[in-house]
């Protein structure tokens, strides 16, 4: 791959086949969602999950943003789906940057993804037995706005 290529093969593969793009909103039982946005570049990330608060059974994203951000969301979702909800608290930003060869000036975009994951984690926690919220309605949406 020449250094002139703006996207490496992993980014291209995820972008061409965004298997986890979608959402699990209205109609899905045990679904939670979190959305973050950034106004300058107009970025938006919506993460949604089916979870019992401990395990993320299914994890989906929707992204308005560049190919690196889409690929990062895809990579994250495919890694965390089926695993413990705590994974959402530990987004491996540096590792994703390296894997996807994200230009440093886009670091903020991956931090936004981290924010979304953290927000989704909070929403998941509310699904735990001790937390009664979110049991009645299909989806809980956490919203966050960033400026970075």
């Amino acid at each position: 791959m020449s250094s002139e290529e703006p996207y490496n093969d992993t980014v291209r593969r995820h972008f061409a086949n965004p298997a986890h793009a979608g959402d699990l909103q209205a109609g899905y039982p045990h679904a939670v969602a979190a959305e973050v946005s950034e106004s300058e570049a107009g970025l938006r990330i919506l993460l949604s999950a089916q979870s019992d608060g401990n395990i993320i059974y299914r994890l989906r994203y929707r992204v308005f943003g560049c190919p690196h951000l889409i690929a990062a969301a895809e990579e994250l979702c495919s890694r965390l789906e089926g695993g413990p909800a705590e994974g959402l608290q530990d987004v491996p930003v540096a590792q994703l940057m390296e894997l996807l060869e994200v230009p440093v000036e886009k670091t903020g975009r991956l931090l936004l993804l981290e924010d979304a994951a953290n927000a989704l984690h909070e929403a998941c926690c509310r699904l735990l037995p001790g937390n009664h919220a979110g049991q009645e309605k299909g989806t809980k949406l956490a919203r966050k706005q960033s400026k970075d």
Partner: protein, 391 residues
């Protein structure tokens, strides 16, 4: 290039393919027995090269309906623009240091003016109206007693908007101010008659009309006012305005491209009109699409569109193997929303989604049809990835 993907090239405004006839003329120079000698050499081979150079100069002159002696060969429109603007400004600086241009010019113009500002010149930047056109009253109001030069392009490289250079030139002549016109996007593609146009300096470049990259020309009207300072020095080539060994194959390529353009320009233009209509018909129903630049005042070889709520960078990747531009090819690595589009009052959000389709002599209708399919498909695909409310 990604193997297995056949590209669809709709980026003629960045650079056109070289006409096979041009390539052949160049190849003749480069191969054994061709005109390869230094045209400054006085021996037989040098004179043969010189004859080729002067033949090419006459071909370019014919394209613009001017005398060969009014043309100086350069390495392209970036250099021509700088030579004209900095050259005239510096030559005339003792008379006044005020210059006029527009922020929607190519970077080779705006950056040159910016450098002149650092040298102590003052530049008035005139905004276009919503159609992209220069309000002539604004120009007249901007010209002062110390104004020396106005530089306005013919066809905008991002939107295709055509300025009325006849009217602008008339205003400049009335006020005794030099008028430079960057015709990089129009030379060889729109009719230009310098015997009738009140233009003092005009830039063109071969690679925008099926000639080679790295060769261009500057026209200097045969008027005492049109004297300029060179950008660099050495040798006596090109009336001392542009020294350096003349690259014979490049000059021959430019001349051949001009000769072909003389013949084909009307047909090429009609072809571009048909392609433009076909393309717009194929994409105009995409939800949220808008056309940038007033179609009534645009060169038909360029179609610039935006879509509300689509990320431009992702769109570019989704469009592969379709080769088009986001904003100007010359800005395309900066990633910033196009200044030209913002000057047309587009929001940043719309501007960043802009795609410039550009096409010409070698574009087939099947390329347009393929592009329509790829573009509409890519928009659909991106919308399926985006949060619903955005799109």
């Amino acid at each position: 290039m990604t193997p297995g993907k056949e590209i669809i090239y709709l980026d003629d405004a960045a650079t056109t393919p070289v006409d096979p006839v041009v390539a052949e003329a160049m190849q003749r120079c480069l191969s054994g027995g061709g005109a390869f000698a230094n045209p400054s050499s006085i021996h037989i081979a040098g004179r043969a090269s010189r004859a080729q150079v002067e033949r090419s100069r006459a071909q370019v002159a014919k394209l613009l309906n001017t005398a060969p002696g009014n043309l100086v060969f350069t390495s392209g429109a970036t250099e021509s623009n700088n030579l004209a603007i900095a050259g005239a400004a510096r030559f005339r600086s003792h008379r006044g240091r005020h210059l006029v241009s527009m922020p929607t010019e190519h970077k080779a113009v705006t950056d040159c003016f910016a450098a002149l500002e650092r040298e102590g010149f003052e530049v008035t930047w005139l905004e276009p109206d919503q159609r992209g056109l220069l309000p002539i009253g604004d120009l007249e109001a901007a010209i002062r007693p110390d104004t020396q030069l106005v530089s306005i392009m013919h066809v905008n490289n991002e939107t295709g908007v055509i300025q009325d250079i006849h009217q602008i030139g008339d205003a400049c002549r009335r006020h005794g101010v030099l008028f430079h016109c960057d015709a990089a996007q129009s030379a060889g593609k729109l009719p230009i008659d310098l015997s009738a146009l009140p233009v003092d300096l005009m830039s063109l470049t071969g690679h925008k009309f099926y000639g080679p990259q790295g060769i261009g020309a500057l026209y200097l009207a045969d008027r005492p006012e049109c004297r300029i300072r060179p950008l660099f020095h050495g040798g006596g080539q090109e009336r001392r305005l542009r020294p350096g060994t003349l690259p014979v194959h490049q000059v021959v390529g430019l001349g051949a491209a001009a000769a072909i353009a003389v013949e084909r320009q009307p047909d090429d233009l009609a072809h571009a009109e048909r392609l433009n209509a076909r393309l717009w018909k194929g994409i105009r129903d995409v939800r949220g699409i808008t056309r940038n630049g007033d179609p009534g005042h645009c060169f038909p070889g360029i179609l610039n569109v935006s879509i509300d709520g689509i990320d431009g960078e992702s769109l570019m990747l989704a469009l592969e193997p379709l080769c088009v531009a986001t904003g100007s090819a010359c800005n395309s690595q900066s990633g910033e929303p196009s200044y030209v589009l913002r000057a047309l009052k587009l929001t940043d959000r719309l501007a960043q989604s802009a795609i410039r389709f550009s096409f010409g002599r070698f574009t087939h209708e099947s390329d347009i049809d393929a592009a329509i399919g790829v573009y509409t498909g890519a928009v659909d695909r991106l919308r399926s990835i985006m949060p619903k409310a955005t799109a």
